[in-house]
């Protein structure tokens, strides 16, 4: 259980949100030119880091908006929350 600061609604409890997987995955510009392995890499393969991870979350029981979050998966510490389309504030 932890508090997430929704960029639209403010601080809410985690149970109002849903995680949407890794953030900043860019769709290949020419999917037809990719090999099956490269396409599968884009489609299915996701990082599962123990440490700081860039994730997508949605405020599913609130404003229903998607946003990005930088979270340490080992201790659930949130380093940053930013809107879709914005660049990550920390590296």
């Amino acid at each position: 259980m932890f508090i997430i600061n929704c960029p639209y609604c403010g601080e809410r409890e985690q149970s109002e949100f849903k995680a949407g997987g890794e953030a900043h995955i860019v769709r290949p510009k020419q999917p037809t030119e990719l090999s099956d392995d490269e396409w599968a890499e884009y489609l299915f393969m996701r990082k599962n880091i123990k440490g700081v991870q860039f994730e997508r979350w949605v405020h599913i029981h609130g404003c229903r908006k998607w946003f990005n979050m930088v979270r340490d998966t080992s201790n659930d510490q949130i380093h940053a929350v930013y809107k879709m389309g914005e660049k990550p504030p920390v590296k």
Partner: protein
């Protein structure tokens, strides 16, 4: 308004808590991002859509609740004619906004049930199964939040101090009503 029997057709009076369904109330969800959309809605409804998150504005006949940066719920302050399925406000909005692709208008009159709650024990009851922090909310007249009560999605509108409108999807209303009654007996 559709012809249906509401699962809530009673008024409950507990110690410092009174609950009843407000019906029929016109409810519309309007969506739009452009500045022109907000100004046009303002002119048509004679009400300013709330820009600030988790707030509402109350006009003479209607109220506007902030749901997200591009979504608001409009509801009538008074009860409407039960046999009427179209409302002048809705027609105005559809003709001037929906038809020129400025935004979307959805009639949710029958989709949401409005429960009016009065009394000093409202937030005690909610806090039994709601993750939202009501400390500031209950002191702020006109505050709005979307959250979960007993795992059911709800919209809570703090209309006046100790007067709350609770909006819940109709299919969940019977279950939530039972839970509220059960919980209210114990506070």
């Amino acid at each position: 308004m559709l012809n249906y029997n509401s699962p809530i057709n009673e008024t409950k009076d507990f110690n410092n808590l009174k609950m009843s369904e407000e019906s029929p109330i016109m409810k519309l969800v309007i969506r739009g991002k452009k500045r022109e959309f907000i100004s046009k809605v303002g002119k048509l409804l004679n009400i300013l859509l709330p820009n600030e998150p988790n707030t509402s504005t109350v006009g003479n006949n209607i109220s506007a609740l902030w749901l997200s940066p591009d979504e608001w719920m409009i509801h009538s302050n008074d009860k409407i004619d039960k046999n009427n399925n179209m409302y002048p406000i809705e027609e105005d909005l559809i003709n001037n906004i929906h038809k020129i692709n400025l935004g979307a208008i959805t009639d949710v009159t029958d989709q949401f049930t409005m429960i009016k709650m009065e009394g000093s024990q409202i937030y005690e009851l909610f806090s039994n199964s709601c993750p939202f922090n009501f400390n500031d909310f209950k002191k702020k007249k006109g505050a709005v939040t979307q959250t979960i009560i007993n795992k059911i999605d709800v919209i809570i509108h703090n209309k006046e101090i100790n007067v709350v409108n609770l909006l819940v999807r109709r299919s969940f209303s019977s279950h939530l009503w039972s839970w509220l009654n059960d919980g209210a007996k114990r506070i």
